[in-house]
Symmetry: C2
């Protein structure tokens, strides 16, 4: 068990007026126990309580480390495992559950009356996960450093005639050579007008002179996720507007990063970047929020958007990724991960951001 993290969750539980919580989300369980159980359809559950023993329910078929630091309840597929879980809870008190608990577990637990009522209390875990501890900060620095090195190798592959897919298919191997465990998400390699298409991944499109090449890429190392975007140009800047768009996106990226410190509202960070782009007349071409929290998942709970009035706190890690998308023409996005420090922020990506023509 990661005691500091469990305590952070229990504190938040108390603030919600709750005493107990059942978590079935594998990522949150890893966060709290340090143990990955990839149980698929099967139940894996962590019961946390401010007054009772915490219990970790794991099917016999999954291995556990020798001293997991929490009471373990083992079961087989034929055991009444939901009854066993219900037997641990305080049926006279409200029970917090995680937002992802599937109906196949929640409905039976409810019909067994394992709590006085049932409350989505995910925010207790999500809120704790949004504030990284030192171990997590180090992991995020490590994985982002690999992403920086990888970006240089990806750039070196960009030549006229190469296809998006030829680049994206090589990425996993390059990441692994640099020490990463895996991709953190399917890479986006977008040439020319494809860079203006939201959620485009990669296709059989060849790079042409004058195209932009947008690379939105990330790897995983020790279970933590990197995420970075850079946009290059091939051979030349075909139109003056492309250069202008690039410079605006870069200015927006820097404007946002410049104001990040504890106490600043996340919506104001979004606004700082958006203002640069709006003032230049491209406001309607910046079609998404500025960023998202990241850690054990590429999209952790929390975002940097106009709707989020929460303030930044030390230990938050999120992306800053303004973009301008001109349909049928060009797309530019520049994305870093940033860690909120006591006095400002640490930019976790060091790969350069000045315009590069390759």
């Amino acid at each position: 068990m990661k005691r500091n993290r469990v305590d952070a969750v229990l504190d938040r539980l108390e603030q919600m007026g709750l005493e107990q919580l059942v978590i079935t989300d594998a990522t949150s369980i890893f966060y709290l126990t340090g143990i990955w159980v990839d149980a698929g359809e099967r139940l894996v559950a962590l019961y946390l309580s401010r007054h009772r023993d915490c219990c970790f329910f794991v099917n016999n078929m999954f291995n556990l480390p020798p001293d997991p630091g929490v009471k373990i309840v083992r079961f087989s597929d034929t055991d009444p495992y939901l009854e066993m879980l219900a037997g641990c809870t305080d049926s006279t008190r409200p029970l917090g559950v995680d937002k992802n608990m599937p109906a196949r577990f929640l409905l039976p637990l409810m019909s067994m009356g394992c709590g006085a009522e049932y409350v989505n209390a995910s925010i207790c875990v999500d809120g704790a996960r949004a504030v990284k501890d030192e171990e997590e900060m180090e992991a995020m620095r490590r994985v982002s450093a690999i992403n920086d090195k990888a970006m240089a190798e990806f750039k070196a592959l960009l030549k006229e005639g190469v296809t998006e897919r030829e680049i994206s298919n090589q990425m996993k191997e390059i990441y692994q050579k640099l020490g990463a465990d895996d991709l953190s998400f399917p890479p986006s390699v977008c040439f020319g007008a494809n860079a203006a298409i939201g959620h485009y991944r990669s296709g059989n499109v060849a790079l042409k002179k004058g195209d932009c090449a947008l690379l939105d890429v990330g790897c995983k190392k020790d279970s933590y996720c990197a995420d970075m975007t850079r946009t290059f140009f091939c051979g030349e800047i075909a139109k003056e507007e492309h250069r202008r768009v690039y410079e605006l996106v870069l200015e927006a990226n820097r404007a946002a990063e410049a104001i990040i410190k504890p106490g600043v509202r996340l919506c104001d960070i979004d606004a700082a970047a958006r203002k640069v782009i709006e003032d230049a007349g491209y406001g309607d071409r910046f079609t998404h929020r500025l960023g998202h929290f990241i850690g054990l998942e590429v999209h952790d709970f929390g975002d940097v958007s106009g709707a989020n009035q929460e303030t930044a706190v030390p230990g938050n890690i999120f992306s800053i990724e303004p973009g301008i998308y001109l349909e049928g023409d060009v797309g530019v996005r520049i994305e870093d991960l940033v860690l909120v420090t006591e006095t400002g922020c640490e930019i976790l990506n060091s790969y350069g951001k000045d315009l590069e023509i390759i």
Copy 2:
């Protein structure tokens, strides 16, 4: 909408004594509507009723085809979308929900009283999905044919000294060249003793003379998943027992495939393969069920195991994958997908199964 599939689900709903069902699982929604909405954290829901209009709830941010054939309810992130969904249901009747509906949707729907009670009715959709229609059978034949061709290319890459990862990292590109859209799961490429490790994927281990090379691989095409395993040997058969194990697994695979036809219990298919291996004294080295259903997901609902007393029906597609694993030494598994026909079964994989020394 795929009317025949919706009707199959409504029939099963009636057999359960239910009138209405809310589905939030993206794969089941694709199965019923032909529309993929990759909504992530956001709600996407299909309301099916035997007496009311079916409704498809989709956030404005996702595109839909021009004529989806079902009543569409659109909403934005700031709309009260769960209230809108609750407004469609019959609050005086039990409401079926899918097994994967997350607590963040289910708990609010329950507190709004959108049904008289709440029942996990996933089996209605899962049961329908387990019986493929002609369109699905064709898709499964197509994707399996690609997998057959790919296996020949993978085999050609196996040379002394090549690492597991060097092979697995090339697979996606080979699949795409052959017309597939993607991998259906991370490939397992296991050399020597690694082939005896359950759920091993691939590492930096080089192929040596005498090693087995177990390849458990699959691709996706038109949203349907392939899955096949073959085990080769490098250079020579190092021990007579390896040959014996291979021949036993092959005999088990064929013994199971030989008895498949409508009306045969799935547990008896498992038993047919297991008997071959048990009779030879390796029963405790065949450590998993014989197979799993497959279609839109690599592991669809349903399995071929000692616990499943359901009978095979025409249109079922599942894997037949016996194995023998000798820890620290060798692992052999031979896996095909089979389609249950009116009179027997069609083996969807045609890649040869006789022992190959490469």
